[in-house]
């Protein structure tokens, strides 16, 4: 124990003495450990926010297609539906005694590249994300008038919309659309709170408004004279013929599989029903490959800088002949000399780990508002989880393991140390 304290104090003094050379090595190691830790941290965060995109919904029902496709276009607003669901089917399913609630969703239009989701007030009431959190309005109201629109948080932030702004939706997807619903502008009635999910990246209108907009658009473009004006539209009442998908909540989740099977064999039209959790984890498995590779690369980066550390220590070793001669002559054992080496390596690794924690924490706190503002990505500072501590803890352990190379070298050499300044007389 006493000899450990001696070794420790010698190692710290020695590191401090060589601080100029070692600072660079330490910096390299710090950066690479920060990279490793950062990637692991983001992995966890992304996975967390990914799997919490939707919760509380037991089934998503759409036209017959693969479960990933259905999940992507309903929840992530990526890709398009293969077909629609008849409004009668929606009502039929909604009235099933096992169904607690049903939210209709109709897609197809866009606003400045953001999806237009037409739905009803059930969406606000039933949609949940994260740990069963409900949607809430940051400002204004959920749409109530025919030509009201509620904006997702990102849309409002990016396009700097305020309540009462008039906006024009485009027909079809894409950022630049050539056919706009110019004659039927919408008024911003409300803006949703940030959720960190694709909900922020869409605008919400009523199913009736969607119908009203598309009167006279049956052929895909507006036929002059057949479209409605705002006044005539408001005088009429609309019932949709079809919707794109629906979200279902069941009274008893045990019924989920039974209902899923029934919906897949629905007689009136071909439907698919998926369990959002299952589809999400399948999607994550696909994307997981990529982040695994990223983590692998960062492990190699850390390994490289650890090897660099050993290379520098071995180079310094040549300059330490005299010091070793002195230590040996005053009675230090070869073990102490070797221990000095290992300890220096471990101390450097520990310093790098500490520094990278600081660096990571300050990077997150500095970048987090910026990321949220510009990309709508919410990365909060949190304490590390067990996996991350393990990864961080592995760095000094590996440093110790590879420090055994110069330490062993030293141990062998200092056993042969003779009296005097040089190893050989």
């Amino acid at each position: 124990m006493n000899s450990f304290r001696l070794t420790l104090s010698l190692a710290t003094a020695s590191l401090w003495y060589r601080r100029r050379v070692l600072a660079l090595v330490c910096l390299t190691l710090t950066l690479s450990v920060t990279l490793l830790l950062g990637i692991q941290y983001l992995r966890t965060e992304v996975r967390q926010s990914f799997t919490s995109t939707i919760s509380g919904t037991d089934l998503i029902v759409g036209a017959r297609s693969g479960q990933l496709n259905l999940l992507l276009y309903t929840v992530f607003h990526i890709g398009d539906a293969t077909n629609n669901i008849r409004w009668s089917s929606f009502n039929d399913i909604k009235d099933d005694p096992r169904v607690d609630w049903a939210v209709p969703i109709s897609l197809g239009d866009s606003y400045q590249g953001y999806r237009v989701v037409s739905t009803n007030d059930q969406f606000l009431e039933q949609f949940q994300y994260g740990d069963d959190q409900k949607l809430a309005l940051a400002r204004g109201q959920w749409f109530s008038q025919l030509f009201d629109v509620t904006l997702g948080a990102d849309v409002a932030r990016q396009l700097q919309h305020e309540l009462g702004d008039q906006i024009v939706l485009s027909h079809g997807g894409g950022r630049t659309s050539f056919s706009n619903h110019t004659d039927l502008p919408f008024r911003v009635s409300g803006i949703l709170e940030t959720t960190g999910t694709p909900v922020d990246q869409a605008v919400y209108i009523s199913l009736e408004a969607m119908e009203a907009m598309h009167v006279g658009w049956e052929s895909g473009v507006a036929i002059p004279g057949r479209t409605l004006s705002a006044q005539t539209a408001e005088a009429r009442s609309f019932t949709p013929d079809a919707i794109t998908a629906m979200l279902l909540g069941l009274k008893n989740p045990i019924m989920t599989f039974q209902l899923q099977r029934e919906l897949s064999q629905y007689a009136a039209e071909p439907l698919s029903a998926i369990l959002p959790g299952v589809a999400l984890s399948e999607l994550w498995r696909m994307m997981g490959q990529f982040e695994q590779a990223l983590l692998g690369i960062s492990v190699f980066v850390v390994a490289t800088s650890l090897i660099g550390l050993v290379a520098v220590l071995l180079t310094i070793q040549a300059q330490r002949q005299r010091e070793v001669a002195i230590l040996r002559a005053v009675g230090a054992s070869p073990r102490l000399v070797a221990g000095l080496y290992s300890l220096e390596c471990v101390l450097l690794a520990l310093a790098s780990c500490g520094l990278s924690l600081l660096l990571g924490a300050s990077a997150i706190s500095a970048l987090s508002p910026w990321l949220l503002q510009h990309y709508g990505i919410h990365i909060g500072a949190r304490s590390l989880n067990a996996d991350e501590w393990l990864l961080l803890g592995l760095v000094p352990v590996v440093a110790f393991a590879i420090s055994l190379i110069p330490a062993w070298h030293h141990w062998r050499k200092s056993r042969k140390q003779s009296f005097g300044s040089s190893a050989q007389d």
Binding site: S3, L6, A329, V330, G331, A332, P334, F419, G420, S421
Partner: protein, 233 residues
Amino acid sequence: MNIETAPHSSRSHAIETHQLGFRWPKQTIPLQFPDIRLNRGEHLFLRGPSGTGKSTLLSLLAGMMLPESGSVNLLGTQLRHLKGGARDQFRADHMGVIFQQFNLVPYLSALANVTLPCRLSTRRHQQTQNTPDAAATALLSKLSIPEVLWHKPVTEMSIGQQQRVAAARALIGSPEIILADEPTSALDAENRDRFIELLLTLAHEHHSSVVFVSHDRSLAHHFHHQLSLGDES
């Protein structure tokens, strides 16, 4: 049981060697050394031109290498009976060393360099009445190292000062044997005599035997005994 820490009878010699021989890996004829018998508290001057194996002999006396033939008996302990680690501990407990130059650990202060043996050896620590720092400062003042340098890095010192710090390190904790390998070769004539006088006076105070190696015949008169290497035949 504990050979290296057992109290040694004061009748045993500080150093007693018998027909020492050593061969470096590529040497054909082994180096042979004259027998040494040195009483405790007495000083020995070992003279020999370079190449006569002075440093080899010191390595054997320090227990850093084992002889090919013959024996080294220090303070009544046969070195060959000790294992590597025990020999290192024996050296820490009973020996002080001074090199030609580069005596000091560069990243430690003068004071920390002096107290280093007390941290490696409980015995040396106890011999300073468990106050190594006080013992070290006493030695440094006696060796006239200015107090401002005590806590400074040793690299800021002159060679003469460095050698005196090394002497203080060798003396601290009153080891029975001090091995000095041409410690004055880098000093001028005036400093050299002053250094030897100081070293021997303090060694006397600490009851230490000094083995002093040098090629400089003119220093021999300071010592009780002298022995020549290499030119006997």
